[in-house]
Amino acid sequence: MLSNSAKLGTRKSQHNNKGVSMSKKVLCLSVGLTAMLAATPAFAQTEIAWWHAMDAQLGEKLQEIATGFNESQSEFKVIPTYKGTYPETLTAAIAAFRANEQPAIVQVFEVGTGTMMAAKGAVYPVYQLMADNGEPWDPSGFLAPVTGYYSDVDGNILSMPFNSSTPIMYYNKDLFEKAGLDRETPPKTWAELETMSRQIVESGAAPCGLSSAWITWIQTENLSAIHDQPFGTLDNGFGGLATEFTFNGPVQVKHWDNLKKWADEGLFQYGGPVGGADSAPKFYAQECAIFMNSSAGRAGVIANSKEFEVGFAPLPYYDDEITEPKNSIIGGATLWALNGKDPEVYKGVAQFFTYLSEPEIQAGWHQFTGYLPITNAAYELGQSQDYYAQNPGSDVAIQQITRGTPTANSKGVRFGNLTQARNVVDEEFEAMLAGSKTAQEALDSAVERGNQILRDFEAANQ
């Protein structure tokens, strides 16, 4: 008992890292000692380790949420630890699991969903966790496209949505005006984007019309979803490990063809594979007038675009392929509970997840970070707070992700080893840009190589 309480006292003071004064430390210690001396037995807080990949200001906000939960009750203590980038965090969790040192909660990016879902022995599905611990759980309260991505075939939600995003289009209003276009009218269709880009370049307003991060996620996966085109068999992989890629369809080929044409004409500039590290500077330097990236980058885009006004718009679509575009699909990450901890810990995790779902907490996180509000209640709260009216463009993402009725093609993608498959897609895109393949050949090759990756995953997880 003595050691537990003393530990409680000193632990508290050590984790208070914003320059705790001497007196506060003493206070903590004396509180601990008092608790020990009191007749009632003092119990140690159950600690819940939460590994995440949120850094800088996002990490600070996350810490605030954890602290808020810790202060709202005394039984549990959530301890967030930054473990690096998304891949580093996942690898750390896996290494820890193999050594029986795993955290209770880990934040895994959407690309790792396939891996996590296949690891049935490692994962404690959220819907089960909540039910087992008697916490309220209403799947319908969540934004449908978000939960759809993380549900199994029976519609049970396996991981806790936390920070989800979707790609949108940012554009430079000043450059639009300079080129003679209406600054309040961004292109709605790809045809319009082509014409507008041409006008921008030919008028001399800027040397380039469009650049984009995430060729894979935005220009292939989301393209397919928005146009109700399949990305893979078996409901884009939701139906099982035997899925195969099918993204070399006519719409995708047409789009890649266009990107190549535009690149040759100078209307489109490629910004690199994966997250496209080179494309953002093109937008901030006013070299390219239009930029496509995750909605979560909104704060950063505004901060870096000090010299011009940024506009926000949904992604364009091909109006000759679809008249009512479907919803876009999500990126970002969710929180997964890992097996192997004491039941006491999971009680706390369940309570924490309930806390996370509260509208105020959700709305606060979403408004600060630019990630989507996960619950309908949080969205409504923001509306009632007039947040969206005061921050134009902040609801573009939500509206885009909730438009229309989702189909099997727009619920998202579920593929194992998706990181590797995306690398293949990036490589084929680059080969196409270099002129060594046509769009059809590049996509065909990507599908073929990608399918091999899928078969590997299937074999390893059968």
């Binding site: 380790a49 800088a56 050594a99």
Partner: protein, 282 residues
């Protein structure tokens, strides 16, 4: 310099100046970045001259900057890096010099086997063995501890190899003279070999200190307790934002701050291996 050849002297300085420019330019760039406002670096041609925000950025980093978002205060991270760097440098030097001595100055069965076992440690990429190494460390209960941070990194073939190279150049006459004098193996080691090795030890110390100082992946994996965070973990955290642009001016300020202790080590150690103060005669 033996003759006085002004052309050659001028050429030498020219070569050195060009060399310094090439080698230092990226670091200069980091410095320039740390003196501008956030976002200045992404908006147009990267500025080549320092900006006006030097005091502002650096005081922010020292007071709050790195220690935001759950990381411990700056001085704790610097301390951890210092402990790691010194322990790793000293540890590696000690065990490597002993091993090299054994391999070069003695004949015994399995001598070459031992050398190659040690030497092979250079040749397997760390990412592949990192998960099994983590398991070993966890099984030994060494997570979240200084030994866990330090000991797995201490087996270095580089230092052993360097000492081996150097020891092979030590003239046999020295050894024989020592034996004639009745000195045993360890006495020879202490009194004759070590002083001779001073230059190499100094050079190695600089390199190994920096190696320990910049460790990132291993501390990240092996610690969950933020009390053990190193300074480079703090920097990487600022530089690797998940969905938005990092604030480069703060990242670079942290980078510059992190480079200060190694610079001190370089300056201090130089005395031991730069010409002018060291006897070049053996």
């Amino acid at each position: 310099m033996i003759e006085n050849r002004p052309v050659l002297a001028f050429l030498t300085h020219l070569v050195l100046i060009v060399g310094v420019v090439i080698v230092v330019f990226p670091v200069y760039l980091a410095f320039v970045a740390s003196t501008h406002g956030s976002g200045d670096f992404m908006r147009g041609l990267v500025p080549l001259l320092p900006g006006p925000h030097l005091i502002e950025n650096y005081s922010f980093m020292l007071n709050e900057g790195i220690s935001s978002a759950g990381a411990p205060p700056l001085w704790i991270m610097l301390l951890n890096s210092l402990v790691m760097a010194i322990s790793i440098a000293v540890g590696k030097i000690i065990i490597s010099i002993l091993s090299a001595y054994a391999i070069v100055f003695f004949r015994f069965p399995f001598r070459m086997v031992a050398f190659w076992i040690i030497f092979i440690t250079l040749m397997l990429p760390v990412e592949v063995r990192i998960i099994p190494t983590f398991k070993v460390v966890a099984d030994l209960g060494m997570l979240n501890s200084y030994p866990g941070l330090i000991i797995p990194l201490i087996a270095s073939a580089t230092a052993t190899f360097l000492f081996r190279q150097f020891f092979l150049t030590v003239p046999d006459e020295l050894m024989e003279a020592a034996r004639v004098d009745g000195a045993g193996a360890m006495k020879f080691f202490r009194d004759i070999l070590l002083p001779l090795s001073r230059t190499n030890i100094a050079a190695l110390f600089v390199i190994l200190f920096i190696y320990g100082w910049v460790q990132y992946l291993w501390p990240l994996l092996v610690t969950t307790d933020s009390r053990y965070y190193t300074i480079v973990m703090g920097i990487k955290r600022l530089a690797a934002t998940a969905d938005s642009e990092p604030q480069w001016n703060f990242v670079m300020a942290a980078v510059m701050l992190a480079m200060l202790p190694p610079v001190l080590v370089v300056i201090f150690m130089q005395r031991l291996f730069v010409k002018g103060l060291v006897e070049t005669e053996k």
